[in-house]
Subunit: 132 residues, 4 copies
């Protein structure tokens, strides 16, 4: 699957008194980015939940290289791959000023059923996204 890029702007409420975007908020930026990737492929996370599937994060890793400041325009570049039949690995890089790498992250997500919260196989409509 190709790399997907999305640009977002850092909000004031995301900063802390260090003057940087607080580290907890990176997880929100990455979440937003991955569901925009899904949307770009024609499938929204909202519709996935409506069909009874949840995709929580089960593992995440962050490497902070340079801070994000208020009002910065940052580009999140991301790539997904399936892991077996029930998991999804996403790798992220965040860039500023075009090409300055300021952050790297990885998240592993599991597919679970809304009803019993048990792991389930990745639905075919999601699996097929990865086959093109």
């Amino acid at each position: 699957m190709e790399t997907f890029n999305i640009t977002i702007r850092a909000n004031y409420a995301d900063t802390d008194q260090m003057g940087f975007v607080h580290h907890a908020n990176y997880a929100k930026y990455l979440e937003f980015a991955r569901w925009e990737l899904f949307r770009s492929l024609g499938l929204t996370y909202k519709s996935i939940e409506e069909e009874g599937i949840l995709i929580p994060v089960i593992d995440m890793q962050f490497r902070f290289i340079k801070p994000i400041f208020y009002d910065d325009l940052i580009r999140i570049s991301l790539k997904m791959q399936l892991i077996g039949s029930t998991r999804l690995l996403i790798k992220y890089q965040i860039f500023k000023d075009d090409d300055l790498l300021i952050h790297k992250a990885e998240t592993t997500l599991a597919f679970i059923k809304k009803t019993n919260k048990r792991p389930c196989r990745i639905p075919d409509n999601i699996r097929s996204l990865f086959e093109n």
Copy 2:
């Protein structure tokens, strides 16, 4: 109903680059305080939701007098009253250094059914909290 008091500490993640607790986070502090008031009366908000009732905020007003800083110990003082058969009004004051009033707020909450999200009468076990 008597005034209830609860003390909380401002977390780092709640600050913004002004060096104050960000104004959006006051709504979280007040929410925490009102459900602790309920707990002190022997009823948890969790158990209310489990019985099929939600109590969302439908109106809120905030008056910021002096800022809250990181690591401040603040005392939230609150009082509740029922409004008719489906609403609850809560008034809050936040104090620092014992008696310095730094914030005033009011929230109106509505009782709704989880199933259809329609307004409903306040359940008797909640109503009875107000009769002592």
Copy 3:
């Protein structure tokens, strides 16, 4: 001053277990909207802070009419007016599906000096935004 409109999408992290956008997050949406209004007028809040002025919220009021759900595209419509020589009043309406009014809010902001945190007169470059 004319009404300014901006559209934003509700993020997953903004929801709570009621299935609605948590009420605290509205304050973040409104903050984002007002600084985008400033940007549209050619002045960023970031540059205002860099010149030594902060504009904290000193009063805010919210009226929740209908909930915002995950992934909703909402339009925030806002209007500003100066209040005397040191304050700014902003009125907001949030719409969904074009014309459905789901939220109303007002925030009052005060101009203060970064150095001493004391109220100050609204700088001329900001005042002039309101004279067209």
Copy 4:
């Protein structure tokens, strides 16, 4: 250094529409826990910042084993160690119902000067905390 334990309660605002505490909020819980560890040793993070040192997170890793639900009382168990002369590694475990391990995490923090945001040696008063 001995293991430090602190118990916190999951707030409603921390949940998302999955009905779990949103994964971004774990970073806030861990931050709270590590500064409470510092407080227990007689040094507050607030006082460290006041002396001109910031301690941002430069690396963090999370392993989600079981969800945290609203109103859960969770115990965060943590251990710190110095890494060279400028970094601090903290390992966290989160338990529910006494002994049920539901989360594991690690954060690496760097000591930097507030004035120039450059790495600096760990101050002696912090270093000495680790020598007992």
